[in-house]
């Protein structure tokens, strides 16, 4: 069978200090024109390296392609040198690439027009005039308004989403047959992500381009992919049609991955994480790479499984049969609703919290105005409750967290903790009370002092607040905390970088728990982690809450996660809370147009559900806080905005169920 683009038995190794390590092990795949193929896997699974190696884009050395054929319409590309004219004509000509980070993949010193025409002139041998016409046409296709005048603009004059559109235009400029998109939307917001992916798949279909999409997001896979390759530790462990794989996942890793992500459309049940850690590159074991994390591993798994046909085009590399797993798996998916009943008194209450930065200008550095980051938000959290704070980047989530913690200047309003106002208390007086309100950070790499060992990291609050008397008790307490978060206390002499991301986040959690706080603010605690690890951390946070009656303010941009973990959810947009309600209620009966759009933009990791969903796109992007609209912050992007919306700012209006919405249109409806 001849495929248009086919890679077979590709094997890539990297030279390291400890010998050669295998990054891609005998991977084969193919694509046909007009097809959307997804490569899914966690970081380090080799999905990007596979694509880069096929195009000979890896630096050699340290990388080396040990074996494999890359056939483009029957011709083996491996016979050409990486820098040969043929390869250069194919890269960017026949095969276009789009990278993850739109901020760094465009040349900041060149006008975007030049960057688009360059490719067209090089590969299609077009003249300047023709190439420019093509560029204008492309920019129009990728949805850049007013393309003629924007050709002369530089990348920094565009937003992140717009830049990714320009990247698409560049990739399209040479009329490629294949586009490889490496995590094209990971750096973008959910609503922008939906726009970009929709655009990309549309263009691919229209121009009969084969789209290879590399992603770690199962939702994206379910929404857009026709065929899927699941990668783990440099191997393709399962491949097949998207419907097949989601309906009847075969490989234990795929099964685990699907169960490990929270879903928007289902009721609450406990996530089932994949145990253990993702393999570190370079450390390989004999046989099946997944065996050490696999709950169903048997003796046979010590030999390497081959990728065997199951049915149709569905292949899987596993010694065991999928039916066996069905029997072994417990059917324990009991729904457990998070109720707000039985929760304690109000513990943390925020009233009209505002954060402004002065804008200074001129020679004398005079203050000319205020930049409002947080535009007056109010909410309260009861003891034992989790309030989810969700919104896109730049909406002020993290600023809210830091404002509540009194970490930034220019914060006004009131923050009541345990019945005491804390915002007006001077730092010196407040310091002893800080133990009552702790924080878990987003980045487990930067939030732990790289020079301090884990014992002292976790134990520091104990010392600061004099919570232990003597060395003995200190050691005991630290061990206890480490065990609580599922870490082996014997590792406590190590420093942070000797741990994986998930383990580090556990250290961060242990540190936050050390002083026995009332409230823990979790600032995107899982967004830097791999999918299978996310579920572990979410479960840990939930268990700890149950065990210790903790109260969380959980900040995240991922609605599915927030819905999963929270009792109540507040949706933020541009420094305002636009909607707040019980989490089930919010997802079932979202009222605010922004909440609705946000929910709509999130792909659900199930292709059957995705087929039936309407993909209604929210237009535009989040405006800069410098250009805050006068009235409702969402008015500019809202399809229902009226004159009143543009002039007057709506406030949260609560119904009898405690579901608050800040929208003029909703209020009118309620009034009727």
């Amino acid at each position: 069978m001849d495929h248009y683009y086919e890679v077979s038995d590709l094997r890539v190794t990297f030279a390291g200090d400890s010998g050669r390590s295998v990054a891609v092990e005998d991977v084969s795949f193919y694509v046909e024109p007009g097809e959307v193929v997804c490569f899914v896997g966690e970081s380090g699974s080799g999905k990007s390296v596979t694509q880069l190696a096929a195009l000979q884009l890896l630096p050699v050395p340290p990388a080396s392609i040990e074996s494999g054929k890359v056939l483009l319409s029957g011709e083996n590309l491996m016979q050409y040198k990486a820098q040969s004219a043929t390869m250069r004509a194919i890269r960017g000509g026949e095969i276009g690439m789009i990278f993850q980070e739109p901020m760094t993949s465009l040349n900041p010193t060149k006008q975007i027009g030049l960057q688009i025409t360059e490719s067209a002139m090089l590969h299609l041998k077009l003249g300047r005039r023709e190439a420019e016409e093509k560029a204008v046409d492309l920019l129009r296709q990728v949805g850049i308004p007013d393309p003629e005048s924007r050709l002369r603009d530089y990348p920094h004059q565009f937003s992140g989403g717009m830049r990714q559109r320009i990247m698409i235009a560049i990739a399209m400029a040479s009329d490629p047959k294949i586009i490889v998109a490496d995590e094209p939307t990971t750096a973008l917001d959910v609503t922008t992500q939906a726009q970009i992916l929709e655009l990309l798949t549309d263009l691919a279909k229209k121009n009969n381009i084969a789209l290879i999409l590399i992603t770690h997001n199962l939702g994206i896979v379910a929404r857009y992919a026709e065929r899927i390759y699941v990668m783990y530790a440099g191997n393709v462990v399962e491949s097949g049609g998207s419907m097949d794989i989601f309906a009847r996942p075969h490989h234990p890793y795929t099964r685990g991955l699907i169960k490990a992500v929270p879903r928007l459309d289902l009721g609450e049940h406990r996530l089932i994480p994949i145990d253990g850690l993702p393999p570190s590159p370079g450390v390989r074991q004999p046989g099946c790479q997944f065996a050490n994390r696999c709950p169903y591993a048997v003796d046979a798994c010590r030999s390497k499984p081959s990728l065997d046909l199951i049915e149709g085009i569905h292949y899987c590399a596993c010694h065991r049969k999928g039916e066996d797993f069905d029997l072994l798996e417990s059917k324990d998916t009991e729904e457990s609703h998070k109720t707000t009943e039985g929760l304690g008194e109000v513990l943390l209450s925020v009233k009209d919290l505002k954060v402004t930065y002065p804008i200074r200008k001129g020679l004398l550095n005079r203050k000319v105005g205020d930049l409002t980051i947080l535009d007056g938000i109010s909410f309260h959290i009861r003891r034992g409750e989790t309030l989810g704070l969700v919104g896109e980047s730049g909406c002020g989530k993290t600023t809210a967290a830091r404002g509540i913690l009194k970490l930034i200047e220019g914060t006004t309003g009131e923050v009541w903790l345990n019945g005491k106002e804390i915002l007006s208390v001077p730092e010196k007086e407040f310091r002893p009370t800080r133990k009552n309100i702790q924080m878990i950070f987003q980045d487990p790499f930067s939030s732990l002092d790289p020079r301090v060992n884990v014992e002292d990291l976790v134990g520091e609050p104990l010392i600061i607040h004099h919570l232990v008397s003597g060395k003995e008790e200190y050691h005991q307490r630290v061990d206890e905390l480490l065990r609580l978060v599922g870490l082996d206390p014997s590792l406590k002499d190590r420093v942070a970088h000797e741990f994986s991301g998930g383990q580090r986040q556990r250290v961060g959690i242990a540190r936050a728990l050390a002083a026995d706080p009332d409230v823990i603010i979790c600032d995107e605690p899982i967004s830097a982690l791999d999918v299978s690890i996310q579920a572990q951390i979410i479960n840990l946070l939930e268990d700890l809450q149950e065990k210790m009656h903790l109260t969380y303010l959980f900040i995240a941009h991922d609605l599915a996660v927030v819905k999963h973990i929270s009792h109540r959810v507040a949706v933020m947009y541009l420094g305002n809370i636009v909607e707040i309600s019980d989490s089930e209620e919010l997802y079932a009966h979202a009222r605010h147009p922004y909440t609705k759009a946000l929910l709509n933009a999130i792909p659900i990791p199930d292709p059957r559900v995705e087929l039936e969903r309407e993909h209604e796109m929210l237009r535009g992007e989040v405006p800069s806080v410098l250009m805050r609209p006068k009235g409702c912050c969402f008015a500019e992007r809202c399809p229902f905005a009226s004159e009143q919306c543009r002039q007057q700012k709506p406030v949260l209006q609560f119904d009898e169920k405690g579901h608050g919405t800040a929208c003029w249109q909703i209020r009118q409806e309620c009034g009727k």
Partner: protein, 286 residues
């Protein structure tokens, strides 16, 4: 437990000497330290008593590197000169590092008016060549080993302050420093326990290489006649006096110069090697 520390030391040494050149540098430094400490045992001569029968003798069996104009053995003087150089180098670097690092820490961490005052003071110091400052201070304080240490110490403060301030600025908004604030740690604790250790690698590199620089500065000052008061042995003074006698005994002027070069080089490379080992982000990256 003891095994563990042993293996840690082993690891440290292994990392440090991974590059062969560092071994050489360490050897140089250790060599000069040993000669400085054991100077009286290594040579039969007195560094201050001349032998008038052998003035400006050429290198020979009795005097391996010859003698100077008062008949003192050059090799002996070099051994004793290593004492002066190392002592001045280490002590003055300690003085400037302590003051400079402290100023840098405080100015960058607290910011505001404190930062303004300290930075401007540093700017003024920076705008004057440090050798000029040293010369001027020398006029005021006077000559002698102790005042030379103070002079050289003060004149290199700005480098440390600048460097430290830069480091602190890049670190003070890191998440782990914010985490400390959230924990309720006092500013003093944050500064000393978290910011200072994390700024330390580049400071240590600067420190070791500055020992070399200071030894060089001491030599320059002594060469100019503003440094060590005779008859104390000093490499710089020896180069100065030897340069006038180059034609009679070239080794007399050149040998101490080579010593200065070797010692300075040794400290520089050792500093580099230390940085490679001490950065924990590089640890375990093998």
């Amino acid at each position: 437990m003891k095994n563990e520390t042993n293996s840690k030391v082993k690891k440290f040494v292994k990392k440090l000497f991974k590059r062969k050149i560092v071994i050489f540098a360490a050897f140089l430094v250790v060599f000069f330290v040993i000669t400085a400490i054991f100077a009286p045992l290594l040579t039969p001569y007195d560094p201050y008593k001349g032998d008038f029968r052998a003035v400006l003798a050429k290198p020979g069996r009795a005097h391996w590197l010859g003698t100077d104009e008062t008949g003192r053995d050059v090799l002996t003087r070099i051994f004793y000169g290593a004492r002066t150089s190392l002592m001045i180098g280490v002590v003055s670097v300690m003085i400037s590092a302590c003051i400079g690092v402290l100023l840098g820490l405080i100015s960058a961490y607290y910011g505001g008016i404190i930062n303004l005052v300290i930075s401007r003071f540093v700017d003024v110091m920076m705008s004057l060549p440090s050798l000029m400052i040293a010369l001027a201070l020398g006029m005021v304080i006077g000559r002698g080993t102790f005042s030379l240490m103070v002079i050289l110490g003060i004149s290199t403060i700005p480098t440390y302050t600048r460097m430290m301030a830069g480091q602190v600025l890049s670190i003070k908004n890191r998440d782990y420093v914010i985490a400390e604030k959230v924990m309720g740690a006092t500013n003093g604790r944050i500064l000393l326990k978290h910011i200072l250790p994390n700024c330390f690698s580049p400071i240590l590199v600067l420190l070791t290489s500055n020992i070399g620089m200071t030894i060089l500065a001491e030599s320059s000052l002594s060469f100019l006649g503003m440094g060590i008061t005779p008859p104390t042995a000093s490499w710089g003074a020896m180069v100065s006096q030897g340069s006038a006698k180059l034609l009679i005994n070239p080794v007399y002027g050149i040998a101490p110069g080579i010593c200065v070069c070797l010692l300075v080089y040794g400290f520089n490379v050792l500093g580099d090697g230390l940085r490679d080992v001490l950065d924990p982000r590089l640890r375990g990256s093998l």
